[in-house]
Symmetry: C2
Subunit: 525 residues, 2 copies
């Protein structure tokens, strides 16, 4: 993430762990031990109240005396209220750990962080065990409405988290009891299922979550096996379709800190887009009616070994060069590979401006199977299965609809704000999928606007990045609240103007080629 | 409690239970259910944050829809933070109950209150089960330092509370699960033992409690069997010798609300005194060195059936009229009875100004037993035991020291402030013992200053009264914090001036009779 020149000086990160030295009590000031400690900590973190639970209250007097009124304190703060979570000897070498969680619908990623130094201790990832109920979040929400379904889904994800955080902490030489804080970023439905909240109203008009701002919950109450005093910060959401994962992304990209206007696109199951700067933020999500049903990333298969992620066509000879993950024999093509392929096909004239395969240009790569045009990407001899690896006209049509939807959302959101794409200083592409998209290809098919390539920056897993920031800097909680309150959510009403724009965007790169001056199909060989 | 003319208008009590009506969500405002509720409640109680625990978060969406977005809410608030404790149907007739606890060293009193109406549902009392370890708080603190001693003492009082609150709620047609809030007022040592906090530093220089402001704790964490979501407010203390019981007394007397200066004396094991008004408060406690060792109320036995609580001597014939509790045959004399007796003996000339029995005036009531002068209060024929009921010179000497200590504390505190007793608009006498003291007798022996009798007002159990106010009015928590912060604690350094004053006060009523113009011994018959 680049530090833009006009970003406000963020100051040093304020760690959750603070070592304090207190003046011991005297006859002149015999303030109680807990209140003496609380006063010092309140001053340090700027909290109005500092809550200390009974187990620590019971331990404080003896510990403070044993440590000569010095102590290492782990504090959690949410708004005006702070909580003392742990109290150790000032020189205790054992790390006090935090856990960042990207709670994805498909994949869950964990990162263990030393709360005192901000150092990453380790990472792991696992498939969301709720996939056993349904890969689709809608199916899971419906299952949650059945008898015992909600609890079953909650148990699946919580058990999965407990198992993997156990493994991860062991791998780092720790135990789960060394983990005192967790920061969890996920979309609204996933965080609801994780907390065991009813999700049925999320998907029904008027699309009302059970909670926007879960705040700080007890790990024990959530069933997470961290330290028994452990606290869990669940990122707030803005609505059913604008989740904490996206707020984590804004935090990670730093959109809310810069004077210059930038845009953030999270290409996940939906297209979630936020544009703004330190003064304002506006966002929308792509679940916007029939035009977008099926989402924007349903083409191709999930990335994995042997999956094609990059495609080049030789402009002179027409040879295909495909790159697979792990450099194995190709067995399929993932989303970023499909975008690459479509861009190259279009530039090579093998598909027309509607995205239709041109048999006469495709030559011996063209096939008709089950009455549908196909293109051979990898011939049988070179593929992993020993069969032709093809892409169908239906796949390409789906891609065209998806890219048109993405572009229309971007244009509608910026247009609503009276902005041209050129007004955007940076264009952040978030999400694991987004990290692999080649902006040149996305521009060539008219999925992303034709901006200088230096404008595009990939953020990788910005949910995990945002959750990690929370563990490294206590000041971030306040920022997250400010972001949540600053974002104006734009309802993408699919009106006639939206549909007109969508239709115009269904050409490669667009019906108005002047919008894409750098996209120039190659001269016919 | 009289409402003084210049008291600030306190406004209507704000109940912990509020019934709210919310606007149901729409597409234009689909704020989450919990946040919708929280916003309304924050507005109602003026809190910056409102915490909702996971069990209620899970229930809110369905309940709000079932009740058409109306609900009866039980809220707890402590500083800027509020907590939603219970959520019921708006027309649910079952009371949401609160429990006021006077956590006395000797006696524990419970009162069950309807949190919605403020109505008292029932009361009960029991001897503090820790008496089994030692009647004296010092003995208990020492026991708490032994292995397992702290937990044993904690268990004694918590089990006692659970048993009696179970009985009390049953008697009121409720169960302990109907109790959501408790307000506990006790001295600093008792509240520490109740919470299982180390008390050893309370009694050692520089007399530092573990905590001054315990705030709001979970009933479950304390081991109290209220509703599982129940909260317990433990009154804050100002120091080891100025406890939450006295802060509850100030609250109950309303000292902190009035323009006019008043004084509050809590005659318990120590003499605890606070003087002040809405602008300032100053307090001190009587554990102030050798002169006061043994306290001010160690004379006589505890009040109970057959115990003499009032004594009159006929000024002409010299006959004794004694009143016993329950009008039974006399079996002993309690503190208020001793004060009455001493006053009457002094006025009748049967003791001199040093409190010494005058054999020649006492006549056949005078005895010498074991070399010590005694006075027969009730002859054998009329007593419950069939033996003479007597008071010894040692008892009278002890009373004189006690009354001198009390008067000296009162004079020192007011003197420090440059006040004369006549500047006090009201003189509140708190404590169960205090409720039975006849001010005329206390003045006659020079224990209390010679002020118009209308100045004296007894408050009864002001700890319980203060705790009850908290249950009836959510605004009281803020007042309690303000009281705690406003009180200046005066250390009663036993210097030469204090000792001189103490010596002067060891005469009946005083070496300077001009200080007690209304006290006139009867002309000799």
């Amino acid at each position: 993430m680049p530090a833009a020149a006009d970003a406000p000086e963020p100051g040093a990160a304020r760690r959750w762990v603070q070592t304090v030295t207190l003046a011991p009590p005297t006859l002149k000031d015999n303030t109680a031990d807990a209140d003496r400690l609380a006063a010092a900590l309140k001053g340090l973190i700027g909290a109005a109240i500092l809550e200390i639970g009974l187990p620590l209250l019971r331990a404080i007097p003896d510990r403070l005396r044993r440590w000569d009124y010095r102590a290492r304190c782990l504090l959690f703060q949410d708004g005006p209220g702070g909580q003392l979570v742990a109290l150790t000897a000032p020189d205790d070498p054992a790390p006090l750990a935090g856990l960042a969680v990207d709670l994805g619908t498909t994949r869950v990623v964990l990162r263990l962080v030393d709360l005192e130094t901000g150092r990453t201790l380790g990472e792991s990832a696992f498939d969301n065990p709720q996939i056993a109920v349904g890969p689709d979040i809608l199916v899971r929400i419906q299952h949650a409405e059945s008898d015992g379904g909600r609890e079953a889904l909650r148990t699946l994800i919580v058990d999965g988290l407990n198992a993997h955080l156990g493994d991860l902490s062991r791998a780092c030489g720790l135990t789960p009891a060394d983990i005192y804080l967790a920061a969890v970023a996920g979309n609204t439905a996933m965080t609801h299922l994780f907390m065991g909240l009813p999700a049925r109203w999320i998907i029904r008009e008027p699309y009302t979550p059970a909670v926007n701002r879960p705040g700080v919950l007890s790990a024990a109450g959530l069933g997470l096996r961290l330290n028994p005093a452990g606290r869990v910060f669940v990122f707030p959401n803005i609505g059913s379709y604008f989740g904490g994962d996206l707020i984590a992304g804004i935090l990670f990209a730093g959109l809310h800190r810069r004077e210059a206007t930038a845009i953030l696109v999270d290409v996940g199951t939906n297209a979630e887009v936020v544009v703004g700067n330190r003064h304002w933020l506006m966002g929308c999500a792509g679940a916007a009616g029939p035009a977008l049903e099926g989402g924007v990333t349903r083409i191709g298969m999930m990335a994995g070994p042997g999956v094609i992620d990059r495609v080049r066509i030789d402009p002179t000879g027409g040879a295909f060069e495909v790159h697979t993950i792990g450099d194995l024999a190709p067995r399929g093509i993932c989303g970023s590979g499909v975008i690459d392929l479509a861009a190259q096909l279009f530039l090579a004239g093998m598909i027309d401006i509607r995205g239709k395969l041109r048999a006469e240009v495709c030559g011996d790569r063209w096939r008709e199977l089950d009455g549908l045009a196909h293109l051979v990407v990898v011939p049988a001899a070179a593929s992993a299965s020993g069969r032709d690896l093809t892409i169908s006209q239906a796949d390409l049509d789906s891609l065209v609809r998806s890219k048109a939807a993405m572009y229309t959302i971007l244009r509608t959101l910026t247009g609503t704000l009276g902005l041209a794409f050129e007004d955007l200083e940076a264009f952040y592409v978030a999400g694991t999928f987004g990290a692999f998209i080649d902006p040149r290809s996305a521009i060539a098919i008219g999925m992303l606007p034709d901006l200088p390539l230096t404008t595009y920056q990939t953020l990788g897993n910005s949910s995990l990045g945002g959750a990690t920031l929370v563990l490294c800097d206590a000041g971030r909680i306040g920022e997250i609240d400010a972001i949540r309150d600053a974002v104006t959510y734009l309802e993408l009403n699919v009106n006639q103007e939206f549909m007109n724009r969508f239709s115009a965007a269904k050409f490669l790169p667009h019906t108005d080629p002047a919008r894409f001056p750098t996209v120039k199909p190659w001269p016919r060989g």
